[in-house]
């Protein structure tokens, strides 16, 4: 019995693919231009921001934490890098680094509060989410930043594969996923991320500095949010103080849909990419069908709950 079960991938890891196929079939049948190269390129371009945030979020969730601040920190990062470049006249590469530094700094704060004071990540990031949002509004005076230097929006440029335009940002996202996949799968520090989420006590007892692993996960997540800031800026060509609101939950949805367990220690980073694409396909397809954005939010909410339920049930089955 056990052996058969061990050979089959758990349903939580097949879930995102099933969801993706179902969504594609429905949208393919109900809309005219869903199955076009241009539309898929558009979906991927829309997915890249959420996709890169989801890498950071996956790392945090693998350690059995959650980062509610991801979208807001990303928005702050994009405001910092655009304002530093436009208002302060910093060279674009330096401004970008400053933006990523701020998001990594937020990751560091999250990580320190979680590891030093032992606060639950849920509460810590709920706090930093609001702090990041407030700083974004105050610093930008709720104004959109425009007239960005071209260097900052370069990742929004495209190249052609066949006749389909693919943006450099999409390519960067895929490369980041492959790098994260390699790290988590093939290196000791990557395996320790899983071990910390799976059994912190056992991991500590074998002599791994679990707090250091956790701290680095939060900082690294912040770096990914910073890269997502840059992708957002590149795609929209402005610094938008009201960004990050849908991305926050979309990223968590992508990770959970992708089969990473909220209980930590189980999951696949590439699942999060599929999860992000599912979220993107849903938003795109529903838009093509003319469904209002409120219903899109409703459907995402329902999806998260279904995905978490599957996770919970499959865990019970494993016991």
């Amino acid at each position: 019995m056990n052996t058969l079960k061990a050979k089959l991938p758990p349903i939580s890891q097949l879930g995102p693919f099933i969801a993706l196929v179902i969504a594609c079939v429905i949208f393919g049948l109900t809309t005219d231009n869903f199955f076009t190269g241009a539309n898929f390129a558009l979906i991927l371009q829309q997915v890249m921001v959420v996709g890169v945030i989801a890498i950071g979020q996956t790392l945090v969730i693998l350690t059995a934490g959650i980062d509610l601040s991801c979208g807001m920190v990303m928005a702050l990062g994009s405001i910092v890098m655009t304002k530093f470049a436009v208002d302060m006249g910093l060279p674009a590469p330096l401004a970008i680094l400053c933006g990523i530094g701020v998001t990594a700094g937020f990751g560091l704060i999250n990580g320190l509060l979680v590891t030093r004071i032992r606060l639950p990540s849920f509460i810590v990031t709920l706090g930093t989410m609001n702090i990041a949002f407030a700083i974004t509004q105050l610093y930008s005076e709720a104004q959109t930043v425009s007239n960005l230097p071209p260097f900052m929006t370069a990742l929004g440029g495209t190249f052609d594969i066949g006749s389909t335009p693919v943006s450099y940002g999409t390519l960067l996202m895929v490369l980041l996923y492959l790098a994260a996949w390699f790290w988590l799968r093939e290196t000791a520090s990557g395996r320790h991320v899983y071990a910390v989420g799976n059994s912190p006590e056992a991991t500590r007892l074998v002599g791994i500095a679990t707090d250091r692993v956790l701290l680095w996960v939060y900082v690294l997540a912040g770096v990914f949010y910073g890269i997502a800031s840059l992708l957002l800026v590149a795609r929209t060509e402005v610094g938008d103080p009201n960004a990050g609101q849908t991305e926050n939950l979309d990223a968590i949805t992508a990770v959970v849909l992708g089969g990473t367990s909220l209980f930590g220690g189980r999951g696949m980073i590439l699942g999060s990419l599929v999860g992000a694409i599912v979220v993107g396909v849903l938003r795109n397809g529903l838009t093509l069908m003319g469904v209002s954005s409120v219903y899109q939010v409703l459907i995402t909410g329902i999806l998260v709950i279904i995905a978490v339920t599957v996770d919970q049930l499959s865990r019970k089955g494993a016991r």
């Binding site: 061990a6 093939e186 395996r191 799976n198 006590e201 056992a202």
Partner: protein, 263 residues
């Protein structure tokens, strides 16, 4: 013959205080080569503080610890591990979702040679799997696949993995904390068998247990901790279980025991 037996580990006059509480009050300890030494004692007798001091998990306030006659001062469990002392803690200290091979090498992973290992820090999974299979075969742990997740194993098999991990990497001493707690009869016997094989390989074993039948079945000597001291070390073949428990609880003065029941 007994006097000539080499001491692998020795402690003299260990004292450990936690505020008002004195957990260790001048405890002595001796572990001989190739033996299974059971450590028993009531709650608060100081047995876990003793083990923590021996494994580097706490630093004693006073007293000395010797390993192979050399004085040692462990500041962390990692120090003890570097000295060849491996611990297996209570409560199945393994990561359930990870494979057996990964659990064996958790915290001491082997990297590939050359560029992949140096620059990319890539793990040598093949080598770790190979070594895991060898070590487990060495200890005759009958688990077929090292790539299955630990959670697919029974409780006894899991505990065997935890014990085997300690035994596979220990150079000097294996410390097992309640390895048969929470296991059924059959599963418990499986772990006891494994502990015997560890000793027969030549590694001395310190076994902390509450389970008197298991202790009497497997131990060569029994260290009885009481009130932060060593009350006596007895020979399970020459003393009854009830007398042992009486010494442990203080109902019997160890000075009144016949000399041949001491070890």
């Amino acid at each position: 013959m007994r006097a000539s037996q080499k001491l692998v580990m020795q402690a003299k006059g260990l004292v450990k205080r936690y505020g008002q509480v004195t957990a260790l009050d001048g405890a002595d300890f001796e572990l001989r080569a190739g033996e299974i030494l059971a450590v028993i004692g009531d709650n608060g007798a100081g047995k876990s503080s003793l083990i923590k001091a021996l494994s580097g998990a706490t630093i004693p306030d006073e007293g000395e610890i010797f390993l192979d006659g050399q004085k040692v001062a462990f500041r962390t469990p990692i120090d003890a591990r570097h000295a060849g002392i491996e611990c297996c803690y209570q409560d199945l200290a393994v990561a359930p979702a990870m494979t057996i091979a990964e659990n064996l090498f958790l915290g001491r992973e082997v990297r590939r040679e050359g560029f992949l290992g140096q620059a990319l820090r890539m793990l040598d999974k093949k080598k770790m799997l190979q070594t895991a299979m060898e070590r487990m075969a060495d200890l005759k742990v009958g688990i077929r696949s090292m790539t299955q997740a630990v959670e697919t194993l029974s409780g006894g098999q899991r505990q065997c993995v935890a014990v085997a991990r300690a035994a596979a990497f220990a150079q000097h001493v294996v410390i097992l904390d309640e390895p048969t707690a929470a296991l059924g009869v059959k599963e418990g016997n499986m772990v006891l068998e494994l502990i015997r094989r560890v000793r027969d390989k030549g590694l001395p074993v310190i076994l902390i247990s509450h389970n008197m039948p298991h202790v009497f079945e497997i131990a060569d000597r029994i260290h009885i901790a009481r009130l932060g001291k060593r009350a006596a070390v007895v020979n399970p073949k020459r003393i009854s279980m009830s007398d042992t428990v009486a010494v442990m609880t203080g109902a019997l003065d160890p000075a009144t025991l016949p000399a041949d029941s001491l070890a």
